[in-house]
């Protein structure tokens, strides 16, 4: 009897919870968060996202609210969202305040910079979107990939020296120092960030590059394209004299995959590790 009652209650409560949340319209601000929402199987609820959300491909075709730090109140509201999932970077603050003053629910999550953040964000999203079970499964897969990575790195004796380069347009390229997501992923993947004595992104001094003597240049695919491919990259001052140039070791990966700390980040670290050790 008790069993039947419980079952009925459960069924009811599921129905009730569904009744409470008839397909909520979600706007997601932040590439990793959008990716996670898709990974949790709720991509169909998204009605808009920011310009950093371009994976999976269907996310790229969502209506865009502009860059996450320069949102427009009316733009976001014109998508008629019931729920806005945003990173703590989303702004400007006055815009966020105005949006919330119209009564739309906003959930701010951390901008993930480590595997721990990613895991927390997946759980948090699972809770907000009422899909705890899927979140658990997703984190399970994520952890499995991390375990596999740990197993691989623990037997690798050599730690490759890596320099991550970022460039906006024609300005001086910048190197990623410590406290950057590039630094985190390099360390997780079992490499050493040669520029970790600096904090944040710093302009690249040619002499320092030579001194760092990186064995690998890590770069986002977009930056590499902007610079004009491997050859143009090694024409940048100082880079030609590095071991990386001699062996032609450039690793380019998608920016969101590599630095986004979304649900694919464990897989990204694995891939990076694989490519670092491809020669051996």
């Amino acid at each position: 009897m008790k069993f039947i009652l419980t079952t009925i209650f459960l069924i009811l409560s599921i129905n009730v919870s569904h009744a409470h949340q008839p397909d909520r319209r979600i706007v997601s601000i932040g590439g990793a968060l959008t990716e996670t929402i898709y990974a949790l199987g709720l991509g169909y609820r998204l009605v808009g996202s920011d310009t950093t959300s371009y994976f999976p491909p269907s996310a790229a075709s969502l209506p865009k609210t502009g860059y996450q730090r320069a949102l427009s109140v009316e733009g976001v509201l014109s998508l008629k969202p019931d729920l806005i999932i945003a990173t703590e970077d989303a702004g400007p603050p006055s815009v966020m305040k105005q949006i919330s003053s119209t009564g739309v629910q906003i959930n701010r999550l951390k901008s993930a910079k480590s595997m721990k953040d990613t895991r927390e964000n997946i759980f948090a999203l699972g809770k907000i979107l009422n899909v705890n079970a899927s979140a658990k499964t997703l984190v399970g897969k994520f952890d499995a990939a991390l375990e596999q990575l740990k197993a691989t790195t623990s037997v690798q004796t050599k730690k490759p020296k890596i320099l991550f380069i970022m460039s906006h347009g024609s300005s001086t390229p910048m190197a990623a120092g410590s406290e950057t997501s590039a630094n985190s992923i390099i360390e997780i993947a079992g490499g050493i960030n040669v520029a970790n004595a600096y904090t944040g992104y710093k302009p690249l001094s040619p002499e320092a590059v030579v001194k760092f003597s990186p064995e690998f240049i890590l770069i986002t695919s977009r930056t590499l394209k902007q610079i004009g491919g491997n050859e143009a990259l090694f024409k940048l001052p100082g880079l030609a004299l590095t071991p990386a140039a001699k062996s032609g070791n450039v690793i380019d990966m998608d920016g969101l995959l590599l630095l986004g700390f979304g649900p694919r980040s464990a897989a990204a670290a694995l891939e990076l590790n694989k490519r670092l050790n491809a020669d051996d």
Partner: protein
């Protein structure tokens, strides 16, 4: 820079031949501005029809959008545009240089330095201050710079416009160095925040800043209009102005401070929006002549109209996202200005 005297101004012969009634010109400009206000209020990412607005036949949601989001933004564009227009006009008159603008003597540079300090050194503020910290910093920064420049120009004993301009240029360079250094030590996040602030935006307009701005800019406009004839006479040079009975020292001080107040208020709520302060007064001079009595209010009206027009395009053309308004002001105003220059030259021949 000081000696740029190359631009020979000619007004349209067409407009010159008719007697111009300043009152008629101002009424026309006001009508144009009102028209743009109406259009700007009725379009946006969320469509609300003009008919519904005029009869106030709106759903609660539309009301919220209109009253607490769109209207403050429209008004902010008007107020900021007017502030930039009049301060540009006043500065050009004061420095007797058609290429002067508030950026030249470091007021915007000072504001930018204060904002970078806020972002990079002090870090994010929360609560009420979180919303307004950058604005307050910009305003304070702008005012401090203008006071320093005033002080510097008096160091030599002679309070001369040339000293003021030179001091301004030096201070400007210093603030840029400061901002550059802070940019260098900033992390990625701070850098982006800084970049977006420098680009200027009217997004996130709320009633409080609109009202604060209005309470600074309306009295400034009244004051500058009152000083219009004295500004005219100042264009004869300080010595000649003194002979006609103008207290040039007092005039210069009050004009600098009033312009700094206007620019400070504008920069505080919208970041750095270029083009308007420099070009709007030019446009007015090309069309209607250089008399400050007309120039100051007309620059306010046309500045407001141009910024509102540009901002309306900025927030609708790529909806639901937005373009930086500074790009649009230049894009809308630039070709028009060039057309005027070309037309003026062909008229002159």
């Amino acid at each position: 820079m000081l000696m740029i005297r190359t631009v020979k101004w000619r007004r349209f012969s067409l407009l010159r031949q008719r007697e111009q009634n300043p009152f008629v010109i101002l009424v026309c400009l006001s009508l144009i501005l009102s028209l743009i206000v109406l259009i700007a209020t009725s379009i946006g990412a969320i469509s609300i029809s003009l008919r519904d607005i005029l009869f106030f036949d709106l759903s609660e949601f539309d009301q919220t959008i209109l009253l607490s989001i769109r209207l403050p933004r429209v008004l902010l564009a008007v107020v900021v545009g007017a502030a930039l227009g009049i301060s540009g006009a006043a500065m050009q008159g004061l420095f007797r240089n058609p290429l002067a603008d508030p950026g030249l003597i470091g007021i915007t540079g000072g504001a930018a330095l204060a904002v970078s300090c806020m972002i990079v050194v002090i870090g994010p503020a929360y609560g009420f201050l979180g919303l307004y910290s950058l604005g307050i910093a910009a305003f304070v920064g702008g005012m401090i710079t203008s006071l320093v420049i005033l002080r510097m120009s008096r160091l030599t004993g002679v309070f001369s416009v040339t000293h003021m301009l030179l001091a301004g240029i030096a201070i400007n360079a210093l603030t840029f160095a400061g901002t550059g250094f802070l940019t260098f030590i900033s992390d990625d996040q701070q850098l982006r925040a800084l970049t977006f602030w420098t680009m200027g935006s009217l997004g996130g307009a709320m009633w409080e800043p609109v009202l604060v701005c209005l309470s600074i800019i309306l009295p400034s406009m009244w004051f500058l209009t009152k000083k219009a004839r004295e500004l005219n006479v100042l264009l004869l040079g300080e010595e000649n102005a003194a002979y006609i009975g103008v207290d040039t020292h007092k005039l210069k001080r009050s004009i600098i401070l009033t312009s700094a107040l206007c620019v400070g208020a504008a920069v505080a709520v919208s970041g750095i929006i270029g083009f308007i302060g420099l070009v709007i007064p030019h446009l007015i001079r090309l069309l209607f002549g250089a008399d400050h009595k007309l120039l100051i209010p007309a620059s306010a009206l046309l500045g407001a109209a141009l910024l509102l027009f540009a901002d309306t395009i900025a927030r609708t053309i790529v909806a639901p996202s937005e373009m930086p308004v500074g790009v649009l002001t230049s894009l809308v105003g630039g070709p028009f200005f060039l057309w005027l220059l070309i037309k003026q030259n062909s008229n002159g021949n």
